[in-house]
Each structure stands twice: as C-alpha cells, then as structure tokens.
C-alpha cells in the first residue's frame, strides 16, 4: 500500500493545537509530493496553545508567530476540531479507526511542586495558574488570587516567574493596552501589591531569564528594581564557569544585574526585588490559616562533576513576609489515557518522537509525539520546530516503510460524523476565525489588540445556533 497519493492520502491526527502541533503539521505539509491529511484536535475551541494562554499579554510581538500557524491551517488538507478532549471525546482506539498516524502534542500541563511544608496553604499557587488566569484560559478563569496582599514572593527566575512578576508590577494603563483577560485587568486594577520578590536558587549567572527580559524589568514605569550587590557579585565558581564557556550573554546578564544593584531607587510606587542564592524551605502560616511568609535558606554555589554550577544550602535561614506565593520551579507532562508514559521525565515514552511500547521498548506503529510532552518543558517557541522536524522525519520514514496503523475507516467524513456525535460543540477553523475576528473587534473599540472570550459557553454563544442545539 502506497500512502500519500490523492487516492490514498496519509491520514494524520494531531492532538494539541499549540506550537508543537502546528510545526508537525507544517513539516508534513512541506512534502508537496505527498497527499497528507492533517486533522488537528484541541480540548479548547481556540488554537495556539501557550502562545495564547502562556505568552505574556505585554509580549504581543511574540504572538505574531500565529501568522505562520494560520498559513498551515489554510492548507486544503488541514482541518481543526476545537473543543474535543483526548480520552474523553475521542480515544486512541477511535483514532486508530480513522488515521494511519497519531501525534501527541499536548504539552506540559502541570507544574512541579516545591515539595516543602505549607506549599498548599491558601495563598500559595502555581505560577502557571496565575498565567492561565490572566491570559483568559477558560479552565482558570474563575481562579482567585488575593491581590489585596502587599508582598508577593515568586519562586523561580525562569521566564514564567519573570512574566508573573512583571505583570504584577505593570500599571493598569499599561495592561489595558494588552490582550490581558478582562477579569484579570479588573482584578489587577484593584491590586494592592507593592513589593514583588523574584527568588532564584542559584546565582545571577545561572538565572534562566534572558537579557531582554532582565532589561525589561529595569525599565518598568511603576516599579523600582532592587538587587542586593552581594547577591550579584560573581563568585569564583561562576566566574570560572563563565570564563571556560566564553558565554558572553550570561556575562552581560550579570553586568546588567550589577548595574541594578548600584541604582538608587527612584521612589516608584512598587518595588521589584530580585534575590539570588536562596531556596524556599517552608511556606509559613500567618496564624489565620493562609500564607504569611516564606522561609528561605541561603545557598552557596559549587561545581558538580560535569561543571554544572549547583546550589548548596548553608545554615543561614531567613524569613520573608509575603501574603501571596507563586511557585514556578518547572513543569511536567500529564499522562494521556491509553498512551505510554515515562514517569521519570514526565513525557510520553518515546524515542526521537516514536512512541514506544512500555514492555518491548519497541515503537508502537503509527503513534508519535512532539513538543514538551515529548522532550519535557525546555526551550522557546522556535525550539519546537527542529523537535517537530525530527518527529516528522520518523513519521515519513515509517509511512514509506508501511509501518502505520491500518484504519478501518480512513475517511474524513467519518471523522466529522464521529466528532459531531461525541462532541456536538466542536468548532472548526472557520469558527475560530470568526471568534478571532470578534475578539479583535471587541478590542478595537477599546484600543486593545483583542478582548478575549474566556468561557467556552461565551465562545459557543458568539458562534450562534449551530453550536447551541
């Protein structure tokens, strides 16, 4: 059987409409010599994954990447089924009945825990929930964050931590020019947050944030950046690591942070305090059953056998009063029903994108993965491109060798019927384009890039009768 002809197109289901899913589709479409049907599914009616629900609203330029995804979606053999949940509306067995190949691109959907006492006190949250909330993700729309607190501790110095700290420091006027969710804009308007702490475990040279991000933190109109000189002084271990690697970007990062340490605060209404060499050891109760402070241990830096600069706790402990704690210490994939999972790394069990049978460790014919659920949560949006290319290369090799699922009903119309039957509210790409236009229109009158729909019901109502039987 030769797949990829007009009579017998290669039929592929992609689960998860984020960057990884779109880059998989794009790489498949590059093979102009092959007829490949791509059906993309997402549990939300809206596409783009973390570009919509993760990338900060004050970073609109990065969201321009969706233009490339729209081109993919405009191809004739591409379909989108939004609002369809894997394992609930469609199972692996269902997909195997209709596709030669299935690709899981569901991302890393949970946060890692700090594993310290008090982590679950009211007022202590995963930073990702706050991010999803201010970005209008329907699942997090009704989250509550006590923004009447004056001091907030954000654990971590990766880009999510930095986003959270920055959003907390922005003025309502700045935020009102973004596509931040309305409910978040309203809540942040009444925010009494005055001091935001970013807490890094290692030193300035090892912080995951990028130089543009650090510069941005130093240019906030409403917040002074505060850095302790002794915490950004280059220690011998980091100095040696920097010299050995010739890593100029990290050296520059340290320089910028050192310049912040020399700054006189301008007396802006808010303070953004960046701390290094501290790890939380406990979240402390305020006596009334919610977060009152965070206990930190001071770290020193040591080099591991491989030269990695690691944090090692000292005896020095301090308490930082804070009424709200956000943790951003990493993410983890969630197992998909019926799909082999590698618990050690929190990813779909795979080898270079081919899903493996957990017993034989051999590839499961026709099942693949890409993006964060394949390699774990690392890299920027663009990192998913080479990652998807690797998966697609495996898919096309396997298809050429005939190592595919042999579906009983490789028929686009049959999928349509099945989806409508299981999920009457499923939306297609045209529906999304209408939602998109409506969101932009709602924003236009208020000088904003868009005003997002933040409830699935709201989206379906806006789309009209077909979706409200």
């Amino acid at each position: 059987m030769v797949l990829g002809t007009a009579e017998q197109p290669l039929r592929v289901a992609v689960f998860g409409a984020g960057p990884a899913g779109f880059y998989v589709a794009e790489h498949l479409q590059r093979r102009a010599d092959l007829a490949i049907d791509v059906d993309m599914f997402d549990r939300l009616p809206t596409p783009y994954g973390l570009v919509r629900a993760g990338v900060a609203p004050d970073h609109q330029k990065i969201k321009a990447v969706t233009a490339a995804f729209d081109k993919v979606a405009a191809q004739p053999r591409f379909r989108f089924f939004g609002g369809v949940e894997f394992g609930k509306d469609l199972s692996v067995t269902d997909l195997r009945g209709h596709y030669h190949q299935i690709v899981y691109t569901t991302g890393a959907q949970t946060d890692r825990r700090m594993g310290i006492p008090g982590e679950d006190l009211p007022g202590s949250h995963p930073a990702t929930e706050f991010v999803a909330w201010y970005n209008g993700h329907p699942d997090y729309r009704d989250c509550q964050f006590d923004l009447s607190q004056e001091r907030v501790a954000v654990v971590g110095v990766g880009n999510v931590a930095v986003d959270v700290a920055r959003i907390l420091c922005r003025t309502p006027e700045e935020l009102a020019r973004t596509d931040i969710a309305d409910h978040a804009l309203e809540a942040l308007r009444h925010s009494r947050v005055r001091e935001v702490y970013l807490l890094g475990r290692r030193g300035a040279a090892q912080a995951a944030f990028t130089n543009p991000e650090v510069k941005e933190l130093g240019e906030l109109p409403d917040a002074d950046i505060i850095v302790r000189p002794e915490e950004v002084e280059l220690d011998p271990v980091s100095r040696e690591a920097l010299e050995q690697s010739g890593d100029r970007a990290s050296a520059k990062k340290v320089e910028i942070l050192q310049s912040y340490a020399q700054r006189q605060p301008a007396g802006k209404p808010r303070r953004l305090v960046v701390r290094f060499l501290v790890s939380p050891v406990a979240v402390l109760d305020n006596g009334a059953g919610s977060v009152g402070a965070i206990r930190l241990v001071r770290n020193r830096l040591v080099a591991s056998a491989t030269g990695t600069v690691q944090a090692q706790p000292t005896d020095h402990v301090e308490e930082l009063p804070a009424g709200l704690v956000f943790r951003s210490v990493g993410y983890r994939g969630v197992p998909l029903p019926g799909v082999p999972f590698d618990d050690k790394w929190g990813v779909v069990l795979n080898e270079k994108g081919r899903v493996l049978d957990p017993d034989s460790k051999q590839p499961l014919p026709g099942e693949y993965t890409a993006g964060w659920i394949k390699r774990g949560p690392t890299g920027v949006i663009g990192t998913n491109k080479p990652d998807a290319a690797e998966t697609v290369a495996a898919m096309l090799d396997d298809a050429a060798a005939g190592h595919v699922v042999v579906p009983a009903e490789p028929d686009p119309a049959a999928v349509e019927r099945l989806v409508r039957q299981r999920q009457p509210h499923a939306v297609d790409w045209n529906d999304w384009l209408r939602l998109n236009a409506l969101e932009i229109e709602r924003g236009r009158t208020r000088g904003r890039p868009r005003v997002k729909f933040t409830r699935v019901d709201e989206m379906l109502d806006a789309l009209g009768n077909r979706h409200r039987p």
Binding site: Q206, Q244, T306, V347, K352, R375, G382, E390
Partner: protein, 143 residues
C-alpha cells in the same frame, strides 16, 4: 536547559554490560545497536565505561582481545552526570576531558547516557529555535 530533555527522547534505553562479561559479548552489543560505548554496571550502579576506543587500543597491543573481560579494558575513571546538569556545562566538560559518553545517574543508579553527538544536536536545536523566535519578534517590530 538541562540534559534531562535529551534523555526524555531516548526511550528509556541504556546499553549496559557487566564487568565479568567478555569483550566478544560487548562487541556484539555495540555492533547490534550501532553504538560507541557501553556502561559497565554492577546491578544498577555504573562502575566503568567500555568504549570502542578502549577495545581498539587494546587490540593493537594484543590480538587476542576477544576473550578478555570487560573489567580488564573498561575505563574506571567515570564522570557521571545528573539529569539537572546544564547542557552547556556538560558539553564543555566533555570536550575538555575528551569524553564522548556520559552516564547519567540518579541516587547512584544509572538512568541514561548522553553522547557528545546528543549535546551538539540539542545545542543546535536550541540556537535554531532561539534564532527563529527572535526573527519573528524582529520581523513584527518592522511592521
């Protein structure tokens, strides 16, 4: 970026051998899987590494390498990695110490192996990704 992301797409496979097995057996495993090195283990604990170079070096001096035991030729001076180790630091160390393979352990137990080729690929993908994302931002800025 840490080396766990490399191990995550290697499908849980690490090729190991015991010290009391023969070089012949070791070569069969190397050839079968088209790989360059085996971790020598005692249970789950790595005690050495046997690379194709170790065998080549020995074979030059002694034509009868096949029946020798792995623990006679293996390199015992092991550099072990941790899944949380920085990609850049690991790459740097491997280049400096001329190590092509790095066993990765958690609590002393072998969980995977990274080759210098893996590091090169991961760094290339990382830079490609960053350039790609930067281009999007810059292009957008031009509008």
């Amino acid at each position: 970026m840490n080396i766990a992301s490399i191990l995550a797409t290697k499908g849980d496979k690490v090729f190991t051998i015991r010290g009391e097995q023969t070089i012949r057996e070791a070569l069969v495993v190397l050839a079968q899987h088209n790989i360059g090195a085996l971790v020598v283990v005692d249970g789950l604990r790595p005690i050495g590494i046997l690379s194709e170079r170790d065998v080549v070096r020995a074979a030059v001096k002694n034509e009868a390498v096949f029946p020798l035991l792995v623990n006679q030729l293996m390199t015992r001076d092991l550099v072990l990695g941790d899944p949380g180790d920085d990609l850049g630091a690991v790459g740097q160390t491997m280049v400096q110490r001329r190590i092509r393979h790095l066993p990765v352990v958690v609590d002393g137990k072998l969980v995977g192996m990274i080759s210098i080729g893996d590091i090169v690929k991961a760094q290339r993908d990382r830079y490609q990704g960053e350039v790609d994302t930067l281009q999007i931002i810059v292009m957008e800025h031009g509008h």
